[in-house]
Amino acid sequence: MPSKATPQRALKGARILPQWVSTTALLLPAYGWLSLADFLPLLTMFLFSFMNKTPMGKAPIEFTLRHYRAFIDQPYLVKIAANTLLMGLWTTLTCAVLGFLAALALVRCTTGARRETLLILILLPFWTNGLVRVFSWTMVLRENGFLDNLWHWIAPTAGSIAILYSREAIVIGLVHGYLPYRIITCYIALVTIDDAIIGAAQSLGARWWVILTKILIPLAAPGLISGAVLTFVPVIGSFMEPRILGGKVGVTMGTVIEDQFTQAFNWPLGASLSFTLLAVTLAIFATFSGILRRGTGGTA
C-alpha cells in the first residue's frame, strides 16, 4: 500500500529534495535516540550475558554460554515462563475482546461531541503514571479495600471478594494499563469502515453476527493483530504489575529478570534471560507479521 502513495508524494517533494533525504531526516532523530538510549545499552547487556559474573571489582572475567542454558539447568524457570505466557495471553485476549467491543460501541452507538468526550476520557488514564496506576489497584482489590467494602455494603453476610495477590489481579492491572491503547487502535480500524458497507450487507440479508464476523472483524483484522502483538510483547516482559498485584504468585519472567539485577546481582543471567525472552517475542512477531502480510496483501 505505501508504494502506491509514494509517486504522488514524491512529486510534491521532488522539486526541492530527493526523497531519501527527507526519509533520512524523518528517521534519523528517532534511531539516533534509540542507539544512544537503547541499542548501546542493549549491546552492553548482550556482552554481559556471556560473562561468568557481573563485571564489577577486579576478579577476572571469563566468557561462557552457560546462562543461556538456564532453562535446562533450572527447570522451575520453564514453569515461570509458561505462567508468563499465560498471563500475556489472558491480558491480550481480554484487551482484544473488551477493546474491540468498546470501539464498536463507540462507532455504532455514539456520535459527535459525546463520542469525542468518551475518546478523551478513555485516553486520559493512559497518561497517568504506571506505578501509581498499579498501586491504586492494590487499594481497590485488597482485603478491606474499595471493592471489598462495596461488596460488604451490598451483601453484608457474604465472604470477602478481595483478589489482591492473585493472577487475576495481575491481569486486571495489566488490562487496565493497555486497554485504552487497544480501544483506540480498534476504534481507528473500525471508524474507517464506511457505513454504507454495513448497510449494503444488511440489505443483502446479513444480521449482526454475519456483519461482525464477515465484515467488521476481517476489515479490522490488521489493526486487531498489530494491537495484540503490541500488547502481548510488553506484557510478558512486565514486572511491576506482577510484583505489586501478584505478591507471591506474581513470579514472572519479568520479575525473575528484575531480581537478577536488583537482588541477586547476577547481571549476566538477567541479561541472558531477557535476550531469550526477546527471541521468543521476535518469533511470535515474525509469525504474525507473516499472517498479516498474507491477510492484507489482497491480490498480491
Partner: protein, 349 residues
C-alpha cells in the same frame, strides 16, 4: 415485481421535522425518481423504505406485506449507494455471492448466478479482481450486480451515479434503464439532478421541505406543474402575477393574459408559469398573450440560445430559442414575446 407504498409517514430528527404526511405509491415495475433539493428528505424517505430508519408514524408495504416492523435484512431489497459500498476485502465474485450465501444458495447454483449477474453488467471476466483494482464505473456495476443477484422485490438507489463523470454517468443511465426494463423491477431512484430524473423515470415525485409536492409522469409534471416550486425545480419557468378579470389575468400594465386552464374567481391574484421555450418573439399583430421586453443578455449555448429580458415594469423573463439562424436579436433591442393560452399555467405559490 412488487408495488411499494408508503402511508402517512412522518419522521423528525430531534425536534426538526424531516418528513411530513408522505403518501406515495410506487407501482409494480415502474422507475420512480425522488427529486428534490438538498435536505428535502429524499434519502430519509429511501432509508425508511429500506428499513434503516424507523418512521415516527405511518408504514411501508412491499407487495402484499406490511414491512414497517421488519428490519432491513428481512425486506429483500436491493440497494445501491453513491459510495459503491463494495466489501473491500472480498473479490468481485465473492461480493456478488454474499447475498446468495446468506440465502443458503451454495454448490453449483451460486457460481452460475454470480456469472449471470456479472455478465449482465458486462463484467464477466472480472470475478477474481479485488474492488480496489476496478474503476469507479466498474465498481458501481459490481454493486448493481450484487444487488440484483438476490432477486430483490425492489431496487433502491441513492444518487448512485453522482460520483461518476458526465460521459460515464450517461452510459450507466442507459445500462440501468436496460436492466430495469429487462427485469421489470420496481425501482426507486433518489436524485437532485432534474435532467437525470426526466430521462430515466416513468414517474417523478418532487419533494420540498419534507413533503411530496407533486408526483406523476415526467411529462405531466413538466407540462402541468401545480406549484411554483415544481415549475422551477423541474425545468425553468417564467412567472407573471396579475388580477383575474372576466376570465383573463390582467397584468399591472394592463395586458390581459389568456389561459386554457380554469382560473380562480375574479379579484384573486394567481401566479402564471410560462416555460421559456414556449415563448416566441412575435410581430405586433394585436394577438393576445403578448408582452414587450428589452433584451438584457444573450447566452449562446450552441444548439440553443437563451435570452434574459426585462419588461417595462421590471419583471425578468427568460426565453429559450433553438439555434436556427444564429443570433438574430441583439442586447438592448426591445421585442414582443408571444405564447399560446395553453402555455400559461396557473400555479400555487
Amino acid at each position: 415485481m412488487t408495488t411499494v407504498s408508503v402511508q402517512n409517514v412522518a419522521k423528525s430528527f430531534g425536534t426538526v421535522p424531516v418528513l411530513r404526511d408522505i403518501d406515495a405509491v410506487f407501482p409494480q415495475g415502474t422507475f420512480t425518481s425522488l427529486l428534490g433539493p438538498s435536505g428535502s428528505g429524499k434519502t430519509t424517505l429511501l432509508r425508511i423504505i429500506a428499513g434503516f430508519v424507523t418512521p415516527d408514524q405511518g408504514g411501508v408495504t412491499i407487495g402484499e406485506k406490511d414491512v414497517t416492523g421488519i428490519p432491513v435484512w428481512g425486506r429483500n431489497i436491493g440497494i445501491m449507494f453513491q459510495s459503491y459500498a463494495l466489501f473491500p476485502h472480498m473479490t468481485v465474485a465473492s461480493n456478488v455471492a454474499f447475498g446468495l450465501e446468506l440465502r443458503g444458495i451454495r454448490g453449483a447454483e451460486a457460481p452460475k448466478a454470480v456469472a449471470e449477474a456479472l455478465d449482465m453488467v458486462h463484467l464477466a471476466d472480472f470475478g477474481d479482481r479485488m474492488p480496489k483494482n476496478l474503476s469507479g464505473g466498474q465498481q458501481q456495476r459490481v454493486a448493481l450486480a450484487r444487488a440484483m443477484v438476490i432477486k430483490p422485490s425492489v431496487l433502491l438507489l441513492d444518487e448512485p451515479l453522482s460520483a461518476l463523470d458526465r460521459r460515464l454517468r450517461q452510459k450507466m443511465q442507459v445500462e440501468l434503464l436496460r436492466i430495469q426494463s429487462q427485469t421489470g423491477l420496481t425501482t426507486i431512484f433518489v436524485t437532485h439532478d432534474q435532467e437525470e430524473a426526466l430521462t430515466l423515470s416513468d414517474r417523478i415525485a418532487i419533494l420540498d421541505k419534507g413533503r411530496i409536492v407533486q408526483s406523476g409522469a415526467p411529462e405531466e409534471i413538466y407540462e402541468n406543474p401545480q406549484t411554483r416550486f415544481a415549475a422551477e425545480f423541474l425545468g425553468d419557468s417564467n412567472f407573471l402575477t396579475g388580477v383575474v378579470e372576466s376570465g383573463a389575468v390582467r397584468l399591472p400594465d394592463g395586458t390581459a393574459i389568456q389561459t386554457t386552464a380554469p382560473l380562480p374567481a375574479n379579484r384573486q391574484k394567481p401566479t402564471l408559469a410560462i416555460r421559456p421555450e414556449k415563448m416566441s418573439p412575435a410581430p405586433h399583430d394585436g394577438a393576445t398573450n403578448q408582452i414587450a421586453a428589452k433584451i438584457l443578455t444573450v447566452i449562446y449555448a450552441g444548439p440553443a440560445l437563451s435570452y434574459l429580458l426585462q419588461t417595462p415594469d421590471g419583471t425578468r423573463l427568460k426565453l429559450f430559442q433553438a439555434n436556427r439562424d444564429g443570433t438574430l436579436m441583439r442586447e438592448g433591442e426591445t421585442i414582443t414575446l408571444h405564447w399560446s393560452p395553453a402555455h400559461s399555467i396557473p400555479v400555487q405559490d
